[in-house]
């Protein structure tokens, strides 16, 4: 019989099974889940099912469009293109021939304008593309920000704390004739206050 905490653990792990199958879990989480699977046949079955689903989906083939559909589409496009070219040829015809066309040309112009590729403004997809690209650019800058902050913090702890604050603390304690105190461990600068307290109390 399963205990209440086993059931909670199973429920909790249900949400992580797909990430486990995709090898996207942090190492410690993955190890914990693996250990649970060794003692929980129900969850192990779920992992097998999740794996089978993934494999089956990934094994599904790409399918060819039926030829009659492609023939129909390309046939329509070719007819439209040849009508458009015929109309442009008419524009390029010598003056007298063009003048002679008259009303027929006006009707053909109407037909071709309907069939020609559209001249309307760029489709919304372009605006969406710029939005996505903007988010990507912001993400890149955000990563740069994170890494430089991290580097600056490390520098502060490593350089400032160890090489500036600690020697200054030792110098201060010597000048106050206090017993030699060890340099504070690396950490936030607020640790320095602890050093002062120890100095005063001794």
């Amino acid at each position: 019989m399963s205990r209440p905490d086993d059931k909670t653990q199973c429920q909790d792990l249900q949400l992580r099974i797909e990430a486990f199958v995709d090898k996207e879990l942090e190492r410690t989480e993955a190890t914990a889940l693996q250990e649970h699977l060794e003692i929980c046949p129900a969850c192990a079955r779920q992992v097998r099912l999740a794996t089978e689903i993934r494999q089956e989906l990934r094994g599904l083939p790409e399918l060819d469009t039926p030829q009659h559909v492609l023939d129909s589409v390309l046939g329509t496009m070719r007819r439209n293109e040849s009508r458009r070219r015929s109309w442009l040829d008419l524009f390029r015809a010598p003056g007298p021939a063009w003048i002679a066309v008259g009303a027929t040309a006006a009707a053909a112009l109407f037909a071709v304008m309907v069939l020609m590729p559209s001249q309307e403004p760029a489709p919304p997809e372009h605006s969406a593309e710029v939005e996505i690209a903007t988010e990507e650019a912001r993400l890149a800058i955000a990563y740069l920000d994170k890494l430089t902050h991290r580097a600056a913090r490390d520098l502060r702890e490593d350089v400032v704390q160890k090489r500036v604050v600690a020697p200054a603390a030792r110098g201060l304690s010597r000048s106050l004739n206090a017993p030699e105190t060890a340099a504070p461990k690396s950490g936030p600068v607020s640790d320095y206050r602890d050093l002062n307290d120890r100095t005063r109390s001794s």
């Binding site: 949400l15 992580r16 990430a19 090898k23 996207e24 879990l25 942090e26 190492r27 993955a30 524009f91 001249q119 710029v130 690209a133 903007t134 990507e136 650019a137 912001r138 993400l139 890149a140 800058i141 955000a142 990563y143 740069l144 920000d145 994170k146 890494l147 430089t148 991290r150 580097a151 600056a152 490390d154 520098l155 490593d158």
Partner: protein, 177 residues
């Protein structure tokens, strides 16, 4: 006729633009060939960003009213390239080799090290490339928070502008349910 005139205008603009930006990006002093590091395959990547001059200028144009600082940085850049992969998709020695190769390449190509930090398995290398007195490129190679990050900014970079831009941005939380 209108269509022909429009085509000629567009062609002229394209030719003018191509004259102004004739240099292939690979020849820009701030360009770093992150693909040549070869330790991140496309399947490993959780993030891949590859933005080039024309799109960056368009981003700058669109952002100009709402975020002029961001717009200005974008307008001066020629490329932003980023590749990020979770470390648990890669072998540790491959990551080490990739980073070491990257650092060697940067130094051989004349980039100078701006920042190097290492702490408990995480490290950040930030390199800069100057040309004619201006910062023309930034390259970052890093392992942090379970990710390998390779980043190259190409173009004229004003450190003050970039600095003031960075203070306002947050990374999205990355969690997997």
């Amino acid at each position: 006729m209108h269509r022909l005139r429009r085509s000629i205008l567009l062609l002229s603009m394209a030719l003018l633009a191509s004259t102004l930006h004739a240099q292939p990006i690979e020849e820009h002093p701030g360009y770093f060939p992150i693909d040549e590091l070869q330790f991140l395959s496309p399947d490993d990547l959780s993030v891949e960003i590859n933005l080039r001059g024309a799109m960056l200028r368009l981003i700058g144009k669109v952002a100009a009213d709402d975020d002029p600082e961001f717009a200005q940085v974008m307008k001066n850049l020629e490329a932003i390239r980023v590749q990020i992969a979770p470390t648990d998709r890669l072998q540790a020695d491959a990551i080490r080799k990739g980073l070491d190769t990257g650092v060697t390449m940067l130094e051989n190509m004349g980039w100078y090290r701006m920042i190097l930090t290492r702490d408990e398995g995480e490290e950040v290398h930030i390199y800069g490339r100057e040309d004619e007195g201006d910062l023309q490129g930034l390259t970052v190679l890093a392992i942090e928070d379970g990710e390998v990050i390779v980043l190259n900014l190409v173009g004229r970079i004003d450190p003050d502008q970039l600095g003031s831009l960075m203070s306002g941005l947050d990374l999205p939380e990355v969690t997997v349910e």
